[in-house]
Amino acid sequence: MRINVKLIANYQSLLPAGTIGNTIELEAPAGISVLQVLTPFGVPLDDTSVIVLNGLTVDLNTPVSEGDTVAAFSAIAGG
């Protein structure tokens, strides 16, 4: 299935070299979890990151579905 991975601001550097913008589409096996999607990118999977599925707060073991977007950004005060 096709899913999207969006890595925001300083996490963009974790996307494959040559990526334009902060989002890539990739092929992933059915049943893959949010955690499993992000692991290969080296996104810190602790409280230093905010990770959302389609913009929503979820358990990181939540399975990802066709067309979903997994997004992550560094937890930092600002705004």
């Binding site: 601001a9 913008g21 902060n22 409280d47 905010v50 929503l56 930092i76 600002g78 705004g79």
Partner: protein
């Protein structure tokens, strides 16, 4: 005294006389400093029913006990007054250099009262204070004014001033310092303008004495090292400043778009941190003694939006960008420069224009009244409106009253996205429920700076909260409001304070901040005592707001009755009724939001 100078400078602009007074050490201890001590004086000396633009209102500049100490980001001051925008309380915060220079004059507070007969500025060089004529800078923008007044006082001095917007009593007028920094919100610049006070120029060498200089130095160095370690790892705040936030809020569906008609903006990538950094960033420009350095000098080098200045920050990108449907970055950056030069709050300015755009598109305000089309996304029309607002020309005269009064005048109050008549900042609370409770209850009207629970709901600092849930939000909002009252009273910046001088608990706890306060002042606060003092500050402000007649804690129609049409929070409204009763209970307030007799006794306050 240590930390606090224990002295205030009172300037009567009507009589053009000045006096120096001591501040009761017990008042300093009980109300912390800065915002808290300023509020104690406002509460004692200003009738809550006073016309905010009359000579009877007072304008207080207040540095905190940690201002001008080694504490990283100990560079803030607060402007406290009765607000002409909200009819309630204004307490607006700014950094840069002026606050430190102000504290080094040897005063914690400047209190301006009365009204000068003609334009004046006040020049404070320690105890040498002069009220000088300012007719030659009246009408000039904040940059020219700053340059001229430094040239005729001292290049070593720092300037806080108003621009044309403040002179013309526009209700979103800011007080700008160091050209680019703003005590922006609630119309504090209009109060300054109503007093014919164009500028305050400050300089001195009186750093506050410290109770334990060695311990204060050590804790400050250690805190700076912690900030530095994050910066070295690649902190977004260093790389982008707050301009990285549009991508975050857009992803969560809370990026105010077209006057909060939507929560996502299809052109976000055109106005986000990468676009700004790649096209216009020159260098970082930190406030005094800040290891984070989120400020940025930018330049649009050529074309019709040519200009140079600082920013824009996230809130400006949200209000003058997505809020107005604007995605031409050069125009947005130029609009930000103009607001700084005219001395205007970019949130109030942008969201008032956004409300006018919506009313224009819906046919509620005809083109003949505005004098031109005013569609969402029309960046040139937005820039025209900014100029007209500052100078109160034509339709700009209506806009200068802010969105609440504008929408009411044209018969559609439901279009205004305000609480206590103040425009919302850049977090749509339908997708950030705690922010909804904050906006509804905030003493100063809608403001993230009143207790920014977006830190947890949006940014995951120090822990991540589900923004769509109402569970536990009453407790979180109450706690953050008190924590922000503490930070604002201390003289620190929230960006560094929240992450580095509080504990990393859901209910952040001021362990290190208490240490800094004690090493500086010798007051011997426990963290519990200092949080109680912050609660005292919040409640004395609450009493003033209620007595001013601003008694309703609610949200505008759109937030309660129009579900978000798009994005992750689609279908949501703010469930205020699920949070407000619990909030009142936790606050020790009655069912109408008034502090109970028991709560006031506990805090040592009287009605």
């Amino acid at each position: 005294m240590n930390g606090w100078h224990g002295r205030l400078l009172r300037i009567n602009l009507t009589t053009q006389t000045t006096s120096i007074e001591t501040i009761d050490p017990q008042v300093c201890r009980d109300f912390i400093g800065g915002r808290g001590v300023a509020m104690w004086y406002i509460s004692k000396e200003v009738d809550p029913q006073v016309d905010p633009l009359s000579p009877d209102n007072k304008l207080v500049f207040a540095a905190g006990p940690l201002t001008a100490t080694p504490a990283p980001t100990g560079n803030r001051y607060m402007v406290v007054t009765k607000s002409p925008l909200t009819g309630a309380l204004a307490h607006s915060n700014s950094g840069g250099e002026f606050p430190t220079w102000m504290k080094r004059t040897g005063f914690d507070l400047f209190i301006f009262e009365g009204r000068a007969e003609g334009p004046v500025y006040v020049w404070v060089d320690e105890d040498r204070v002069e009220v000088r004529a300012a007719a030659h800078v009246w009408g000039k923008d904040t940059h020219e004014t700053t340059d001229i007044l430094k040239a005729e006082t001292s290049d070593e001095a720092r300037v806080a001033c108003i621009g044309p917007a403040g002179e013309n009593l526009a209700l979103m007028a800011a007080i700008m310092n160091d050209k680019h920094r703003a005590a922006a919100r609630s119309g504090v610049g209009a109060v300054m303008g109503s007093k014919n006070l164009k500028a305050v120029v400050a300089m001195g060498n009186k750093n506050p004495d410290l109770h334990d200089p060695t311990a204060m130095r050590d804790v400050s160095v250690d805190t700076s090292k912690n900030v530095g370690a994050d910066v070295k790892k690649g902190s977004n705040m260093r790389i982008y400043g707050t301009s990285y936030v549009p991508q975050v809020t857009n992803t969560l569906g809370i990026f105010p778009t077209n006057n909060f008609q939507q929560g996502t903006f299809e052109h976000t990538k055109n106005i986000d941190g990468d676009a700004l950094k790649n096209q216009y960033l020159i260098r970082h420009t930190p406030c005094y003694r800040c290891p984070l350095s989120c400020g940025r000098l930018t330049e649009v080098p050529d074309g019709k939006y040519k200009g140079k200045g600082e920013g824009p920050e996230y809130e400006t990108i949200s209000s003058l960008g997505s809020g107005c449907g604007v995605h031409d970055l050069a125009a947005l950056v130029k609009a930000n420069y103009l607001c700084n030069e005219y001395g205007m709050d970019t949130i109030g300015t942008g969201m008032t224009i956004a409300a006018a755009m919506e009313m224009y598109e819906k046919g509620y305000i005809p083109e003949s009244v505005i004098g031109q089309p005013l569609k969402f996304g029309d960046h040139d029309a937005m820039i025209d409106m900014i100029k007209k607002m500052a100078h109160r020309e034509g339709f700009g005269n209506d806009l200068a009253m802010g969105s609440y009064r504008l929408c009411e005048k044209y018969g559609h109050p439901e279009i205004a996205v305000t609480t206590r008549k103040q425009e919302f900042p850049g977090y749509d609370p339908r997708g950030s429920q705690g922010m909804g409770l904050l906006y509804a209850t905030s003493n100063k009207g809608a403001s993230h700076m009143e207790g920014d629970v977006a830190y947890e709901e949006v940014f995951g600092v120090p822990v991540k909260e589900n923004p769509l849930s109402t569970d536990g939000k009453a407790e979180l909002v109450k706690h953050f409001e008190d924590a922000f009252a503490l930070i604002d009273s201390s003289g620190l910046c929230v960006f560094v304070a929240i992450r580095y001088v509080f504990s990393k608990d859901r209910l952040i706890f001021p362990q290190r901040l208490s240490e800094m306060m004690n090493f500086t002042t010798g007051a011997g606060y426990t963290p519990e005592e200092i949080m109680k003092a912050a609660e005292r500050v919040y409640n004395i402000e609450r009493l003033f707001v209620l007595k001013a007649g601003s008694t309703e804690d609610t949200l505008p129609y759109r937030m309660l009755h129009e579900p978000l049409p798009d994005g992750p929070a689609k279908g949501k409204v703010v469930e205020l009724d699920k949070m407000l009763p619990e909030f009142y209970q936790l606050r020790g307030w009655d069912e109408k939001g008034w502090p109970t007799k028991e709560k006031l006794e506990e805090l040592g306050l009287t009605m």
